[in-house]
């Protein structure tokens, strides 16, 4: 058992739950008021309003004009551009999050091997994170510009033929994955690095004493131990990937054609360029179902991993 190996104190979960339940039931209405108000303002109100928009004919200038039932949902589902965007968003989120998790974990392991202090390197790692996404997009757009771009300039100096990733359907999509990965891999690396610091030294020593090599130690001890953390990071990046908007807006504007038209970008176009706010609200609800389904799946896997660890 992993628990006994690392000497964790046994926790009586049932007793803890009962204790928490007792504590909750003693909350006075005044104590609950701030949370209730926050729930109303930040969760319930926008959700109710969004549903109301989705069920009515609403334009940007005149929301909630007329009850239309499920017409907006039907319009959204009959729109190939939107249904295609759901698929694209899912592929983008899964691909980008997976690449970032693998790259970030590799980076974190390399950092961990250096020691427990990041020093100046930590600051460098934070640079892509603190750069505004719009500036990230502008920089990459200039870098990848087919005429006068830095990439083609370098290729030209090396005597190689120019490339134009943003002019090609697959190239543009992959370029966005690369840009997102460039920006978010350090974030993943820092989180995984923190998780790696939590792996008990005794556990490593026990495995080494049992004759495990470095690879075996990594695959059979370290990664299983930090698996819940890795899955939590994956969940975070999945949701972040679904929400991607800035770099799509700046770098490809959803193109070429509809190749990079993600759901967030399409919803924005529907609401703020076609002014069909009712349809955009329906699209938002449908999109949130897709995000919710994928997130629930990963969360379930994570819960199972946590239970297995215990």
């Amino acid at each position: 058992m992993a628990d006994s190996a690392i000497g964790r104190p046994a926790v009586r979960w049932g007793a803890l739950r009962r204790h928490r339940a007792r504590r909750w039931s003693g909350v006075s209405p005044w104590q609950a008021a701030p949370v209730t108000l926050a729930l109303l303002v930040f969760t319930a109100y926008p959700l109710v309003y969004l549903v109301a928009l989705a069920l009515t004919e609403s334009t940007l200038a005149q929301p909630l004009r007329e009850w239309v039932g499920t017409d907006n949902f039907r319009a959204a589902l009959e729109n190939d551009v939107f249904t295609g965007s759901l698929w694209r968003s899912t592929v983008f989120a899964v691909l980008a999050a997976s690449v970032q998790l693998v790259a970030g974990t590799a980076l974190a392991l390399a950092l961990h091997a250096r020691g427990r202090r990041l020093g100046l390197l930590g600051g460098f790692l934070l640079l892509p994170l603190v750069t505004p996404p719009v500036m990230v997009g502008v920089a990459w757009k200039l870098l990848l510009a087919p005429v006068g771009g830095a990439l083609n300039g370098a290729l030209g100096l090396a005597g190689l033929a120019p490339v134009n990733p943003l002019g090609d359907e697959r190239g543009a999509f992959l370029a966005l994955v690369v840009i997102d990965t460039w920006q978010w891999t350090p974030f993943v690396a820092l989180l995984v690095y923190a998780a790696l610091l939590g792996v008990p030294g005794e556990l490593r020593e026990a495995a080494l004493l049992d004759g495990a090599g470095r690879l075996r130690l990594l695959v059979s001890v370290v990664l299983p131990y930090v698996r819940p953390a890795l899955l939590a990071v994956l969940l975070l990046r999945l949701v972040g990937g679904f929400k991607v908007f800035d770099i799509v807006y700046v770098v490809t504007a959803g193109g070429p054609g509809a190749a990079t038209n993600t759901s967030t970008y399409e919803i924005q176009r529907t609401a703020l360029e076609s002014f069909k706010v009712g349809t955009a609200a329906a699209e938002t609800l449908l999109f949130s179902l897709v995000v919710g389904a994928v997130a629930t799946l990963v969360a379930a896997v994570r819960r199972r991993a946590v239970r297995a660890e215990r």
Partner: protein, 450 residues
Amino acid sequence: MSRAHLPHLLSRRAVLRGALGAGALAAAGPLLGACGGDGGGDALDPAAKPKLAGETLKVLVNQPNAGAFEVLRRTFKAETGADIQVTPVPYDKLLATAMLDAQSGAGQYDVIMYWYVGLGSLAEGGVLEDLTDYIKANPDIDTGDLLPSIYDPYTLYQGRRWGLPFDGDTHILFYNTELFEKYRLDAPKTWEDSNAAAEKITKDGRGEHYGVIVEGQQVPIILGCTFANRLVGFGGRFLDDNGRPALASEQAVAALQSLLDVAPHALPTPLQTGFDQALPAFLSGRAAQLEFWTDHSVKAQDPKQSKVVDKWDVVTLPIGGSNTAHNTSLDAGFALGVSKLSKKKEAAAAFVKFAASRKQNEAQIAVSTSGSDPVRTSTLSSQVFRKSFGRAADVVAEGLSGKPLVWPNGPEAPELLQTLVDELALALQGKQQARQTLEKVQSAWEKRLG
């Protein structure tokens, strides 16, 4: 009540249920309000003579025209004592900003500059004040002098006037005379000439020069203009005389085919090419042809911005197919209206009248940074117009005096144009043929227009 009883009355579920119920009630307020209210303030008094001295009007403007409002601010203040506070917004966010201002009830602007394609949306949405009676009550507006080709498309919706024209935008074809001479080509008169020149220059230019810039970014004001220029050249229309879609016509298909034919010879790559890519390519002398707004001639002659000073010329938009009549397209084009939420409607209307006057129209086109074009017949025959527009003057005057292509401007227009450019982008991407593309657009437009 003792604390012991609270858990029964205030369980977590009860608290959450109460919170959601209150949220629903909170949402119902604006819902009911929005269903019933028209969002308007006091109606504009058409005969009022407002006191302007000391007033400050807030004006929402198209960012490229911000320079024009600097000129207007000085002259308006000097003549009336009133000031204006200008908020420039990028052209593609102008309509949304105006609508959100009205929808939110903020009423931050007294005067709203709008792209005429949004006229129906703004009028139907209760964003603009009806100026019909004001215009009738103020004969000094001199509507007879406003260019007939733009006055109605810019301001007339459902028989009412909602603004006054401010910037009469059209496209013309700029070409690099040095490159045309180098490759022994004549100025293009037809789209076939233009395409042939593009192919030759790009092929012989071997990556150093490109024969044409095709602006194909998937937004109506970019890719829509590129298509509209060919559509009018081939004799096509967006809508017929009855307001029905006319995009499945042979002329429209030929126009799109012409665009698809030239795309492989354009500056790479059309779908990525917007203003940011197009202007430097032409002004640096790398690309030989560019369809653009008339005020580009000022930039092309500015040695600080251009390497093609005195190495360019313009022609009116070419013709194509069996069409023999040169016409231009009303690409972009802006008018000024009064916000329905303004609390200074009479003063705002006075400013709109002032800004659209003959004197101000001439004053603005004299300034290279104004981004403004003629909206009045008298401006087209003025000396200042000749001087400012130079070699482009005749071409601009010919286009605005003729029967230019008018874009849809009803409440459905933003959606119609978005559908159009989405399908055009797929065609440029090679995913569908010209006829198939336009039949899809025709079908979508028919469905939307009922």
